[in-house]
């Protein structure tokens, strides 16, 4: 067995250093690598460029890193659910690059699929298109303009899965899959934390979301809070 398991988050983030670009999985607070974020804080890594759909809230997720000014730049599609983020952005302490959500996901996927660029219609005619190559293709029976967008190649990808085996095969649960799969595929080094680490052969080979070949280190996380951002419900009557 090609064993990629490590003991914990600290062992897992070896080699991550200040100034690097890291992709961090999750959508809002759903499916975020809680243990890895905690380790980044404990190691006090600075000047990080984070690719992540969102930036957490003041006291959870990437918001924790923001609060400690560990992030130099955010590449995200939707941010500002926390006050400190807003303060740092308006004061110019934090650099922010906003990317359409589908473009973000597709650029990550492109990294994992070995596609140097992708063409997407998202952002054509908007400020997102500034400085980018625009090209017309006929597709789906329509001539349309597309923007050329580059694949992401983050130094590290930090993802969270539901289950994983020691060979790095990952399985996600529900909408906690979100960006984790595409990020896992594109990291130069991909680190996965899982709620349950199992032996190879336990997961059905037909139903693995991220094949272990994309994953370099894996460990079982602990004390998951799995905070809910918007608790909505209906009453049982």
């Amino acid at each position: 067995m090609v064993d990629k398991s490590v003991l914990n988050a600290f062992e897992a983030i070896r080699g991550v250093s200040s100034g690097m670009t890291i992709a961090v999985g999750g959508f809002g607070l759903c499916g975020i690598p809680e243990n890895l974020i905690a380790a980044l804080i404990a190691e006090n890594l600075k000047e990080l460029t984070c690719i992540s759909n969102n930036a957490g809230v003041d006291d959870f997720g990437l918001g924790l890193l923001l609060g400690r000014k560990q992030i130099k730049k955010m590449i995200a599609s939707y941010v500002g659910e926390n006050a400190e983020f807003e303060r740092q952005m308006l004061s110019g302490e934090l650099e922010v690059e906003l990317v359409p959500q589908g473009t973000l996901a597709t650029r990550l996927m492109a990294g994992g699929y070995g596609l140097p660029v992708v063409y997407t219609p998202a952002g054509v005619g908007t400020e997102v298109a500034e400085g980018k190559e625009v090209r017309t293709f006929k597709f789906h029976g329509v001539e349309k303009e597309y923007l050329m967008e580059y694949a992401f190649e983050p130094d590290f990808a930090l993802v969270k899965a539901w289950k994983g085996d020691r060979m790095g095969n990952l399985v996600y649960r529900g909408t906690a899959q979100n960006f984790n799969h595409a990020m896992a595929m594109c990291g130069k080094v991909t680190i996965a934390e899982v709620e349950e680490l199992v032996e190879p052969g336990v997961l059905d080979p037909n139903f693995i979301h991220t094949p272990g070949i994309y994953v370099h280190r894996i460990f079982q996380g602990e004390n998951y809070e799995k905070r809910i951002e918007q608790r909505t419900f209906r009453s049982k009557d």
Binding site: F27, G28, L29, C30, G31, N53, A76, S77, Y78, V79, G80, E81, E86, M89, L90, L98, P100, Q101, G102, T103, L104, A105, T106, L108, M109, T120, P121, A122, G123, V124, G125, T126, E127, V128, H140, W162, Y172, R173, G174, T175, A176, Q177, N178, F179, N180, H181, A182, H209, K226, R227, I228, E229, Q230, R231, T232, F233, R234, S235, K236
Partner: protein, 209 residues
């Protein structure tokens, strides 16, 4: 004149049997409550779910089951989870029949602005730019005028654009308007109690009566 529930209900009438629909945040979310029981519709949530069900019962909320608005939701028989890249893959490949979203401004060419107000905190475009750039059919749900009383149906948007020439229909508290292929807001219907004059006064872009 309709309130936001009325707008949502009116838009629900546009949804046809078999449609895959993406609902934005705000009034569009309310549309789900008015979809006829006689038709079968699948709701997509762009964070990775087809077949979004109602909110869970109190106590059953699951942090791993959320929609694009980060609200806890449930699944339905036949639901599917997938990753963000595939989610926008199906959006780009025009598998979503109808996208319903809010807007700050719409131009008579069908341009839409709904993500950024210069000088104000910018939260980001989320999935809106992808959705408007790709959707085969887009309906905008919004108030006809903004809080300052200015028309949101314009000749040209003044705010930074989300997408160009993409909006097909607008439903406001005053009426239903088609954006004509060569420009202009065609009045499809006025809601009960709304006069043509009221619409004229509230519409700055070219109105086709």
């Amino acid at each position: 004149m309709l309130d936001k529930y009325g707008i949502a209900k009116r838009i629900a009438a546009e949804i046809q049997d078999g449609y895959y629909v993406n609902l934005g945040i705000g009034i569009p979310t309310l549309v789900a409550n008015y979809i006829s029981d006689d038709i079968n519709v699948v709701l997509q949530s762009e964070n990775g779910l087809l077949g979004m069900g109602p909110f869970p019962y109190e106590g059953d909320e699951d942090a791993d089951y959320i929609n694009a608005g980060k609200q806890t939701i449930t699944t339905l028989p036949g639901s599917v989870f997938f990753d963000s890249a595939m989610s926008f893959g199906m959006i780009r490949s025009r598998k979503i029949d109808l996208t319903i979203l809010g807007a700050m401004e719409v131009s008579e060419q069908g341009d839409i602005a709904n993500w950024k107000i210069p000088g104000k905190m910018v939260k980001g475009m989320g999935g809106a730019m992808d959705l408007v750039a790709s959707a085969a059919n887009i309906i905008v749900a919004m108030q006809h005028v903004n809080k300052a009383g200015e028309s949101k149906l314009l000749s040209a948007c003044t705010l930074p654009l989300t997408g160009t020439k993409c909006v097909k229909k607008i439903v406001t508290e005053l009426g239903v308007f088609d954006v004509l292929p060569h420009g202009g807001f065609k009045i499809v219907e006025l809601h009960a109690g709304v006069t043509l004059d009221q619409v004229r006064r509230s519409t700055k872009g070219k109105l086709v009566e």
